[in-house]
């Protein structure tokens, strides 16, 4: 209940932003706020994995892409050529298929968005389990390289397979009707509604993770981060907890991918790129690693600025620079910088070294 209360100020801010933009006639900001919210959903998931469990992942754009691409492909690619195969028949009898027409008037048989969403998220979770079991045995550089490798493989696969549209990606993704009258789409008229859907989802995710981190699981994860051997010796099943967190963060990433793809009406291979994964890691680092609120705040601010094009052609450079500067000067995140202390240090009054371990 306490956690629910701590979310309340955020809820007020969300509604405030809506009212402010509608009052100042700048409603177009809501579009970027919506997209930032979906990216932040991925980022808070990654924050739990990196900050709390201490496991770096340079492949989270891969999970985002699995979610986005699968739901996009399933809801746009016609299944008519495979109509007589068993999986398609099963889907059909379960009521998961939708007949329709494409732009050119040809008949189309696609999976309903709900079924596609579930399929995509479950697939991402299964892949996370399959990858996570061997990968999470690794540490440090090895873990970083292995997850980076996973990300690159996903990128190569979407770039090379015709089913996923190769370099063009998938467009014309239909709206995702959550409930009658409530749909995730890029329609102009649905902008406010989508803003609240995105933020609602983000708030639910946030409450979930805040509660999780305050529970037995959260304490176990912090124990693993501090010292895996010690946690192991205390009877924490480290392998299981690490895997669960990995899968949880992958599911968050996949859900973000599914929703953002429906919102944008398409997805391209750049979403699976290495730079995206690095960017997510950068944002978690800026937010202060084991700080869900920091990750959320930085996720919104940096993604919003990036989507508004504030960084121009230096977009990637800005994230690279942020990454280096934060890691050099404030490894505990930008919110941890004690301005007065820093000033004192600059003036030479306080020489004591406070740079602790990250």
């Amino acid at each position: 209940m306490k956690k629910l209360l701590s979310i309340l100020p955020l809820l007020v801010v969300v509604i405030g932003v809506h009212l402010l933009t509608s009052a100042t006639d700048t409603m177009y900001y809501l579009t970027q706020m919506t997209m930032s919210a979906y990216y932040s959903l991925l980022i808070i998931g990654l924050c739990v994995l990196m900050g709390y469990a201490g496991q770096i992942s340079l492949g989270h754009a891969g999970f985002f892409a699995i979610g986005g691409y699968l739901s996009a492909a399933l809801t746009t690619r016609s299944l008519i050529p495979y109509q007589d195969t068993l999986p398609v028949k099963l889907l059909d009898s379960a009521g998961f298929l939708l007949a329709g027409q494409d732009l050119y008037g040809d008949s189309l048989l696609v999976v309903t968005p709900w079924a596609a969403c579930i399929l995509a998220v479950v697939t991402a979770a299964l892949i996370a389990v399959a990858i996570g079991i061997p990968v999470l045995k690794l540490k440090g550089h090895y873990l970083a390289m292995a997850t980076l490798g996973f990300g690159i493989i996903i990128y190569r696969v979407v770039l090379a397979s015709e089913y996923f549209g190769e370099a063009d990606g998938i467009s014309e993704v239909p709206a995702f009707v959550l409930l009658p009258g409530l749909s995730v789409s890029g329609n102009f008229g649905d902008r406010v509604q989508n803003y609240y859907i995105a933020w609602g989802l983000l708030l639910i995710g946030m409450v979930l993770l805040l509660n999780l981190m305050d529970s037995r699981v959260g304490r176990a994860l912090r124990g693993i981060h501090g010292s895996e051997e010690a946690a192991d010796a205390m009877g924490v099943n480290t392998a299981r907890f690490k895997l669960q967190t990995f899968v949880l963060s992958a599911v968050f990433a996949a859900i973000a991918g599914v929703f953002l793809t429906h919102y944008n009406g398409g997805i391209g291979p750049s979403e699976a790129g290495v730079m995206k994964s690095v960017r997510y890691v950068a944002i978690v680092a800026v937010g202060g690693m084991a700080n869900l609120w920091g990750a959320l705040l930085m996720g919104i601010v940096l993604n919003f600025l990036s989507l508004r094009g504030s960084f121009g052609s230096y977009d990637d450079a800005v994230f690279g620079l942020i990454l280096i500067l934060i890691m050099l000067f404030a490894p505990n995140g930008i919110l941890s910088i004690n301005v007065r202390y820093r000033l004192g240090q600059l003036l030479g009054r306080n020489k004591q070294d406070r740079e602790g371990e990250m």
Partner: protein, 296 residues
């Protein structure tokens, strides 16, 4: 597959393999003195090639390559001094993130200087269609250059580490940093030197491979992944292992072209990387006992 075709693939594999081996040795040099995997290693290769291409407008090829290597060494030193030298026992996660940041920043600097176009140095001898017949296969003289220069680099590095006093100091720093410091070796300078050295060999590799593989601002990530695969495959820190593993990976990749589509070629080496990490993280030649003492 005919004999000629096999030889053709084999030579292509050896060419790429030599480059991978050099990148892997670059990883090893820095890893040995600092325990850091420098994710920006591939960017040194990119800088070497790109700078040489630019300098070629003003001077003859050998001088351009020489200057490019020197400038890249300077960049390597600068990176170490600015970002790494003054950190007090940073955690591994922090170092990974910093070197990734350096890699991105280098790439962005490159794209703003040279743009996204693909460039290349001219062939050192002859041109694109000059070839030497070997057992019926036709091999470009540039391939010989790559293989010979790489071999020379490996031998020179070996001699440097074995015979010179600086080389011995670097090895001392690699095996036990504290003890080396106590013996009066300036370990900090050794770390800078290791960055300079690995930047230098990376840049040279970037120059000799440029006529065949071309240079582009974003070539670094792919090379870094493959170099890392080779470094792991040969056992992290071992130069001999890196050479064998590099050639092995190059040849596997070259022959895989006849089985899987070209677009998936990168995926093959990454799959090998993942496989080796899961099964034998100590590398092909590492011993099980020694691996038991290390953390992966």
């Amino acid at each position: 597959m005919t004999l000629e075709l096999s030889i053709q693939y084999l030579m292509a594999g050896i060419t790429y393999g030599s480059i991978y081996a050099i990148v892997a040795i670059g990883f090893n040099i820095i890893y040995n003195t600092t325990g850091i995997i420098n994710f920006a290693q591939g960017e040194f290769v990119m800088f070497g090639g790109m700078i040489a291409i630019t300098l070629l407008n003003f001077m003859p090829l050998p001088l351009a390559i020489f200057l490019a290597v020197v400038i890249t060494m300077f960049i390597g030193a600068l990176i170490e001094i600015c970002f790494i030298r003054w950190l007090k026992s940073p955690s591994v996660l922090r170092m990974i993130i910093i070197t990734i940041g350096i890699s991105i920043l280098s790439r962005e600097v490159a794209v703003h200087i040279w743009g996204e176009s693909i460039r290349s140095l001219p062939y050192f001898v002859g041109n694109e269609i000059t070839s030497i017949p070997i057992l019926g296969a036709r091999i470009s003289p540039q391939v010989m250059w790559v293989v010979l220069v790489s071999a020379l680099m490996v031998v020179c590095l070996g001699l440097f580490f074995k015979t010179t006093s600086v080389g011995r100091e670097m090895r001392a720093c690699a095996s036990n940093r504290k003890a080396a410091t106590l013996c009066g070796i300036n370990t900090r300078n050794m770390v800078t030197l290791s960055f300079v050295l690995s930047a230098g060999i990376g840049a040279l590799a970037g120059c000799i491979m440029s006529p065949i593989t071309y240079s582009q601002y974003d070539m670094g990530t792919g090379l870094a992944i493959k170099g890392f695969t080779v470094a792991i495959l040969g056992g992290l820190g071992s130069s001999g292992g890196a050479v064998v593993a590099g050639l092995l990976l190059g040849v596997i990749e070259a022959f895989s072209v006849s089985v899987v589509p070209l677009a998936f070629q990168d995926a093959i080496s990454i799959a090998i990387l993942l496989g080796i990490l899961f099964i034998r993280p100590q590398g092909l030649f590492g011993s099980k006992e020694a691996a038991g003492l290390k953390e992966y």
